[in-house]
């Protein structure tokens, strides 16, 4: 525990002057700005200022959960591990008197904290956007009071449900030094989520868990399952990832994906898909 705290202490320090840290403020701003301009057009059709604000809150969170957060996690985990891969830090870090698995755990925790910080910043931006839109909609009746608590609670649920994605990306970007591979995994996972959103299987799909936590897709409440899968699934992947990291022989990450790994991954993917279809058909 002491060594994990030391590793976290060092990880946080390394964030100084990094793009990874700046993106915590930049990425949510993109979503908030987009929704601000959309909100400007929605002012005329809104029945009350309160409803306009709630719509803006919901839109900002849903765009963040389904699209921007998974990409944000992809970028953050790749940047966090990139500073180790780039200058071949592992031969220095792994020769220090710390157990290997703490590096994996520390990377995951910091990536999760950055995802949480990004979501928190997003909620603050949402408040600002909502406030500005309401203040500039002079003709609208006030409507219900703002539900700030609900906004932050939804943000919290989105964050917890995203832990599985953080864990998957931490593992991918620590295992392979290729930025392209990390980015490909994130873009592929997010892109496929757009198609899987309305399917029943979508409630299990890792990249859909954050948006599932908002109960916005699928027509049935998915938030509890999303929190369970996101939280416990994340913990499981972190446990397996740190075990693999500590048992690995060597101080260099792999630079490319081996053919054996691709065959294995495709086989596991197919097996999961067949199992899922079987479970669906029995309902």
């Amino acid at each position: 525990m002491n060594s994990l705290l030391r590793a976290l202490h060092a990880e946080v320090f390394k964030l100084r002057r990094t793009l990874a840290f700046r993106m915590v403020f930049v990425t949510p701003a993109l979503v908030a700005l987009l929704q601000f301009f959309i909100g400007l057009n929605q002012r005329k059709g809104a029945p009350t200022a309160g409803q306009l604000r709630e719509t803006v809150f919901q839109n900002i969170l849903s765009v963040w959960a389904i699209f921007m957060l998974p990409l944000f996690i992809t970028l953050e985990t790749a940047l966090l591990t990139g500073i180790e891969h780039g200058e071949r830090q592992w031969k220095h870090l792994l020769a220090l008197p710390l157990p290997r698995h703490v590096y994996f755990l520390a990377k995951f925790v910091v990536a999760a904290l950055l995802a949480g910080a990004g979501t928190l910043v997003l909620c603050v931006y949402a408040l600002v956007v909502g406030f500005v839109l309401v203040r500039t909609s002079a003709g609208l009746p006030p409507g219900p009071p703002p539900e700030f608590g609900q906004l932050f609670l939804s943000g919290l649920k989105v964050w917890v449900a995203a832990w599985l994605i953080v864990a998957i990306h931490s593992w991918v970007s620590l295992r392979w030094s290729s930025f392209t591979l990390a980015l490909g995994t994130g873009v592929g996972g997010t892109f496929f989520a757009l198609f899987a959103a309305s399917a029943k299987i979508g409630k299990y799909y890792p990249w859909l868990l954050p948006v599932n936590a908002l109960n916005l897709v699928g027509g049935e409440p998915r938030d509890r399952l999303a929190l369970l899968l996101g939280g416990l699934g994340g913990a499981l992947v972190v446990a397996l990832g740190s075990l693999e990291f500590s048992r690995k022989d060597g101080d260099e990450p792999q630079t490319s994906v081996s053919r054996r790994f691709v065959v294995g991954a495709v086989a596991v993917g197919l097996a999961v898909a067949v199992l899922a279809m079987f479970l669906q058909s029995r309902r």
């Binding site: 202490h9 060092a10 390394k14 100084r16 031969k91 870090l93 792994l94 020769a95 008197p97 060597g250």
Partner: protein, 307 residues
């Protein structure tokens, strides 16, 4: 006590044996030079000494304790600089040390001490991306020294440095055992480099240990010879053979008497002058350490050459 001791240390990569049953004995204190041409297995050996990779056979002991059983405790006593230094370019020199200090849970004052040893105090506040290669190398050494190690493992620390940088690094390494009682294990592919700072050396080639011992032991292997420059090469060769000298034609047009002593030189000179052959060069010399090193590493490693 031995700082490093390996027993039949072996590592294979696919179909290649990178380190083949190496038995190192590195005494405490002083500088131990680990010599070998590029690809000889030096870095692989060092990575096993640091627990970065697992050996396929054999064992590593540091300060008498088995590395596989006491890695974390032993690594507290070891500092290392493997190949190029591992630095964060976006952080300053001091901040780079702070990262490692936090990981070690060490005292803050150790940063100033390490910067002072490598003479980087003045530039400690500059981002590492602005550092020259020599400064980066010194910062890498400061990282290795941060935790006040008893054993410092340096893998080709002068690689890529200009002559001034090499001189500075050499000077730094030489000070460490004397001023701080640190055992330095230094790998290099240059005998001339190691010769100037090490008292013990080991020579490795194609994964196998060819020589291990004091530098003086290697010097004892140097062969003396007499080189003679004459006006009539052919006549001198026949004349010396007639006088029962073992004589060879040298590569530079001179005659060589292998294993000859000072008395042999005097006698050969007298014989040649007596026969009217002009002698314009007469030198008694030894084969250089470099020649011994090259002779060892240019030939395939064999069991009987290892000491």
């Amino acid at each position: 006590m031995l700082a490093i001791e390996t027993g039949d240390l072996t590592k294979r990569f696919a179909d290649r044996v990178a380190v083949d049953a190496v038995n190192l004995r590195v005494p405490s204190a002083g500088v131990f030079g680990f010599l070998g041409p590029n690809g000889a297995g030096k870095t692989t050996t060092i990575r096993m000494l640091l627990g970065l990779i697992r050996p396929d056979g054999g064992a590593v002991k540091l300060f008498g304790e088995n590395l596989s059983e006491h890695r974390l405790g032993l690594m507290r006593r070891v500092g290392a600089l493997v190949e190029s230094p591992s630095l964060y370019p976006h952080l300053t020199g001091r901040e780079n040390l702070e990262v490692t200090r936090r990981l070690l849970g060490a005292e803050r004052t150790l940063i100033d001490r390490a910067l002072d040893i490598v003479r980087l105090v003045k530039d400690a506040g500059r981002p590492v991306r602005e550092y020259s290669l020599g400064m980066r190398q010194r910062l890498g050494l400061a990282l290795a020294l941060l935790n006040r190690p008893d054993l410092l493992i340096l893998d080709e620390p002068t690689n890529g440095l200009d002559p001034a940088g090499i001189h500075e690094m050499r000077d730094l390494i030489r000070r460490l055992p004397v001023e701080f009682g640190i055992t330095v294990f230094l790998s290099s592919h240059l005998l001339s480099e190691v010769e100037q700072i090490a008292n013990h050396i080991a020579i490795v080639h194609r994964g196998r240990l060819l020589f291990q011992g004091m530098l003086d032991d290697l010097r004892a292997r140097q062969e003396r010879h007499v080189a003679i420059g004459v006006t009539d090469h052919e006549a001198a060769l026949n004349c010396l053979k007639d006088a029962k000298f073992q004589v060879e034609a040298g590569t530079d047009g001179r005659l060589v008497l292998p294993g000859a002593s000072e008395e042999d030189a005097i006698r050969a000179n007298a014989v040649l002058v007596e026969r009217g052959i002009g002698v314009f060069h007469l030198a008694l010399s030894r084969t250089s350490l470099e020649d011994i090193f090259l002779a060892m590493t240019n030939e395939p490693a064999t069991e009987d050459r290892a000491l």
